[in-house]
């Protein structure tokens, strides 16, 4: 290869950073001819190689490369400080001395501050001989003398002398970090916080950094010290131990820990706690070991050997807590029950613990088991009011447990006759069963204990009014005024006064001057209600409750038919419905009263654009009184507007009149799809309502006598997660679904699977597998009926019969009939 090509190649290798190859090429060139350029390039390559070796801590190689660089370079030589540092790291003392002698004052004091700092540390520690090789007229040597003076003062316990010497060091001295370190060390005895603060000033590239870290470790205590000291080498640990005064046992502990890797295993910690219990404190060690048994149960024998036998109760308690820690409630329950058994065997004096454990177990149980455990706990701790209230809450939720509720309410009242919470429940129960005298009795007790209790006063008021209404209805007019007066005496406020006036007006109509009474009734109703719709509703209810003629009364009121309710007026109506529902609870009367205002109410829902929350409250209220017609109307409109699972729930609920057994297949699909949506949207209320309704549907459709199979093998219902129906029809809008559902419902009543097969065979050719497939997979029949319903309605839903058959993988080829027997 000619020289030019060689030169080009060498330059190319250099530019590409391939210095080794570039070196060979430049050497080849220089063998042929001399060139200062080539020399310079060659020197450059050697220098880069030297740095590369140094990065890999290959200092000997780095030194050789730098010396090669020097042979081909001109002074001043680059990175001479690096060369010196590599020499020091390779511990070539002879060469170090020679090299140090070649350092100039400029280089030592100005150009190479890092080297100067390292030399300073080495001279003070391992290589005092370096001092003589350095330029004696340098600032470095002057500062070194000051540092030696300071150190001597320190050794002589002359801290003032030391300080004064250190002050002579200028800010940019090579011994700057040394000064900080020494001051930090002095501060250790008076203020470890100052030590920490000072040490923070030593930079990361300082040769004093490691010493600083060791000193910093001395400021630590306890676990922080342990974790820090474990990172050190054995000689460093010994030094720190000596400085901070670790005793032999403490040092043994540190050494034991240093032999292990963090994080420490449970077994190691347990064993160390036992081994060093005198150091940790016997009580702390015992507490730790007992607690550690939860995660290291194998340590029980050693624990008992060290601290005495753990009794059966405690052993089971610890196991139960360990299981709970792992979310293993099943085994936890077992161990808690064993713990109870152990306590029972221990004899008297353990009743409270037994009761508490039973209540603790009860928390994780489903309702019936929970209540039995709570009841059992009362045998051991009969004075727990919360327990009684929990039992009452459970029995109060279901109509079928009314008798149990009454029984436990009586027990609660007996046990806590002066407790307002219990008395309040008693009042509510008496009101529900229309035992107004009893309700008043309990309410009066509450007022005796708490004269300001508004609830009790309201109950007394309502009870007197309710009794007055009954007296009016039964035409015992002479007794009505007394009830009204007793209600009036409570002085509850303006609205209640108007109610009093209303009662008097009704009495006047019933027993006195009819026209005067009518006028008074109308006057009060118009005062109580800002709008004719509410006035009409309240008037109707009151007339029915008191046995007075509704039509006569309503004639006195302004017409309500064309009125629309504002949001405030609708809120008033909801309150009235709730009030009369709670006071009287007669759904028939409420429905009749609502029927009088059905038209304006429906129009208002359509035209007034109520807030979603207000409509939801209305639906909840209509649900309470089971007025499904109005509920359907509201839910339909709300779903069209907001498209949320809660509205689908109310729609389906209203369409099925609150009877889950009447849910059709399409209803189920809609509820399931919206249950998923409710979960995604984190809509807990909708989720709960839909789940409960579907649960009730499943309960209503469980084959009688085969429940035990369901328990053994899981639900008898088809696996809803394999949702062919969803796949086929999930794209359809709710409204379309609904229409097809109604049609499909009607068709199913007159189309058997066999007939459907006949119809389909006429269209698509004979398919002998179809009937069998339908028997195996009921969803197939449902899906085909949906398509049929859509076709009959003239709706293009994008799904044909063949799509359904394809989805369910029904082919035409005849198969052997899979009779199992």
């Amino acid at each position: 290869m000619d020289r030019q090509s060689l030169e080009r190649q060498a330059a190319s290798q250099l530019n590409a950073g391939k210095y080794k190859d570039a070196i060979e090429l430049y050497k080849k060139l220089l063998r042929g001819a001399d060139s200062s350029d080539w020399q310079r390039q060659l020197a450059f390559c050697y220098l880069q190689r030297a740095k590369a070796f140094a990065l890999k801590a290959m200092f000997k190689e780095a030194l050789v490369m730098w010396e090669n660089y020097r042979e081909h370079a001109q002074p001043p030589y680059e990175n001479y400080d690096h060369y010196l540092i590599w020499l020091i790291q390779s511990r070539n003392l002879a060469k170090i001395q020679i090299a140090l002698k070649q350092l100039t004052v400029q280089q030592l004091d100005k150009d190479y501050p890092e080297l100067a700092a390292v030399l300073g540390l080495l001279i003070l520690t391992e290589h005092p001989e370096f001092e003589q090789a350095l330029p004696q007229d340098s600032a470095f040597i002057a500062h070194l003398k000051i540092v030696k003076t300071a150190l001597q003062a320190y050794r002589d316990n002359d801290l003032d002398g030391m300080d004064s010497a250190l002050k002579q060091l200028p800010y940019r001295s090579a011994f700057r970090d040394f000064r900080t370190l020494l001051k930090a060390g002095i501060a250790l005895s008076n203020s470890p916080a100052d030590t920490t603060s000072l040490l923070g000033k030593i930079p990361a590239n300082s040769p004093y950094l490691r010493a600083a870290r060791l000193l910093l470790a001395c400021t630590l205590k306890g676990a922080a010290l342990a974790h820090e000291i474990l990172k050190l080498s054995p000689p460093q640990r010994r030094l720190i131990g000596e400085i901070i005064g670790l005793n032999k046992q403490q040092f043994e502990l540190v050494e034991s820990l240093s032999r292990q890797k963090e994080p420490f295993a449970d077994k190691l910690k347990f064993n160390l706690a036992l081994q060093f219990q005198s150091l940790f404190g016997p009580e702390s060690a015992q507490r730790f070991c007992f607690a550690a048994l939860a995660t290291y149960p194998a340590g029980r024998r050693d624990c008992e050997k060290a601290f005495g036998a753990i009794d059966e109760f405690e052993a089971n308690r610890l196991k139960a807590l360990a299981c709970e820690g792992e979310n293993n409630d099943y085994d936890a329950e077992y161990y808690w029950k064993q713990a109870v058994r152990a306590l029972t065997q221990k004899g008297a004096g353990n009743d409270l613990r037994i009761a508490l454990i039973l209540r603790h177990i009860a928390q994780k149980q489903p309702a019936p088991e929970q209540i039995s455990l709570l009841i059992e706990s009362l045998e051991h701790d009969p004075d727990d009011k919360d327990c009684y209230l929990q039992i009452l809450q459970h029995y109060g939720q279901h109509p079928e447990t009314t008798d149990s509720y009454k029984e436990w309410l009586a027990k609660s009242i007996d046990k806590f006759p002066q407790d307002i919470e219990v008395l309040t429940l008693a009042v509510q129960a008496a009101t529900r069963s229309k035992a107004y005298k009893k309700a008043i009795q309990y309410a009066l007790k509450i007022v005796q204990i708490d004269p300001l209790n508004t609830f009790a006063k309201q109950v007394i008021f309502s009870s007197h009014i309710a009794h007055a209404r009954r007296l009016l209805k039964t035409k015992k007019h002479h007794l009505v005024e007394s009830e009204i007066e007793q209600a009036e005496a409570l002085k509850l406020g303006k609205n209640y006064s108007q109610q009093i006036h209303l009662m008097r007006a009704l009495l006047c109509f019933a027993a006195g001057d009819k026209q005067q009474g009518l006028t008074a009734i109308a006057e009060v109703l118009n005062k109580l209600n800002a709008d004719p719709v509410n006035a009409c509703f309240q008037g109707t209810i009151e007339a029915q409750l008191t046995g007075l003629p509704v039509a006569t009364l309503l004639r006195e009121l302004p017409p309500a038919r064309e009125q629309l309710l504002s949001a405030a007026e609708l809120t008033r109506l909801i309150r009235l419905i709730t009030q009369y529902s709670q006071e009287d609870g007669n759904q028939e009367l409420l429905h009749k009263a609502l029927d009088k205002i059905k038209a304006p109410l429906k129009q208002s829902v359509l035209k007034q654009h109520y807030d979603e929350n207000l409509l939801l409250t209305l639906c909840q209220t209509l649900d309470t009184i089971k007025h499904f017609e109005l509920l359907r109307h509201c839910a339909k409109w709300a779903q069209a507007r907001w498209h949320k699972p809660i509205w689908v729930y109310y729609q389906v609920y209203a369409e099925t009149n609150g009877k889950p057994e009447e849910i059709s297949y399409i209803h189920r699909l809609r509820l399931m799809a919206n249950l998923d949506k409710a979960r995604e949207d984190n809509d807990q209320r909708a989720r709960m309502l839909i789940e409960q309704y579907l649960d009730r549907y499943h309960e209503a459709h469980t084959p009688v006598g085969l429940d035990f199979l369901g328990d053994l093998f899981g639900s008898n219902e088809p696996d809803d997660s394999i949702d062919f129906i969803g796949q086929l029809f999930g794209h359809l809008p709710e409204e379309v679904f609904r229409k097809i559902d109604q049609k499909a419902d009607a068709l199913v009543k007159k189309t058997s699977p066999e007939r459907l097969v006949q119809e389909l065979n006429k269209i698509g050719g004979n398919n002998s597998n179809l009937l069998l497939a339908m028997m195996k997979e009921p969803d197939l029949f449902a899906a085909l009926m949906i398509v049929k319903a859509a076709n009959e309605l003239g709706m293009d839903i994008g799904v044909a019969f063949k799509d359904v058959l394809e989805c369910f993988a029904v082919d035409k080829a005849p198969k052997s009939f899979p009779f199992p027997f």
């Binding site: 003070l124 520690t125 391992e126 150190l151 050794r155 370190l181 060390g185 002095i186 250790l188 005895s189 470890p192 040769p207 004093y208 950094l209 490691r210 010493a211 600083a212 060791l214 001395c218 205590k221 306890g222 676990a223 010290l225 342990a226 080498s233 000689p235 460093q236 030094l239 000596e242 400085i243 901070i244 005064g245 670790l246 403490q250 502990l253 540190v254 420490f264 449970d266 910690k269 706690a273 060093f276 150091l279 940790f280 404190g281 702390s284 507490r287 730790f288 607690a291 550690a292 939860a294 995660t295 308690r317 610890l318 807590l321 820690g325 409270l352 613990r353 508490l356 454990i357 603790h360």
Partner: protein
């Protein structure tokens, strides 16, 4: 992690009155508007041992955390006043070089 007794600074056999007094005194120093987090800690501690039933319940259902660091805190609590001797400072400088 401290026990409710340690948080309130009462003995393990303290009664209702003593516990309540300790709680009120602590709350005086750390009222909710000044130190809400500390107040919550004190309040939770008080609620868990304020009467006999709570204390029995706490003893039954609470396992003190097996806190090894807490043990180390006790074992390596170097209480003595430190003083760095000159020879130790020398060793420190050398130990900084060794590795």
């Amino acid at each position: 992690m401290k026990t409710p007794y340690e948080i309130l600074g009462v003995a393990a056999d303290a009664g209702d009155a003593e516990i309540k007094l300790a709680y009120l005194q602590k709350v005086k120093d750390s009222p909710p508007d000044r130190d809400p987090e500390k107040f919550q800690t004190l309040h939770s501690a008080y609620e868990s041992i304020k009467d006999n039933k709570s204390r029995v319940s706490h003893a039954l259902f609470h396992v003190p955390a097996s806190d090894f660091d807490a043990l180390l805190d006790e074992a390596l609590d170097t209480m003595q006043t430190l003083r760095l001797e000159p020879e130790q400072f020398d060793k420190l400088l050398r130990a900084g070089i060794d590795d």
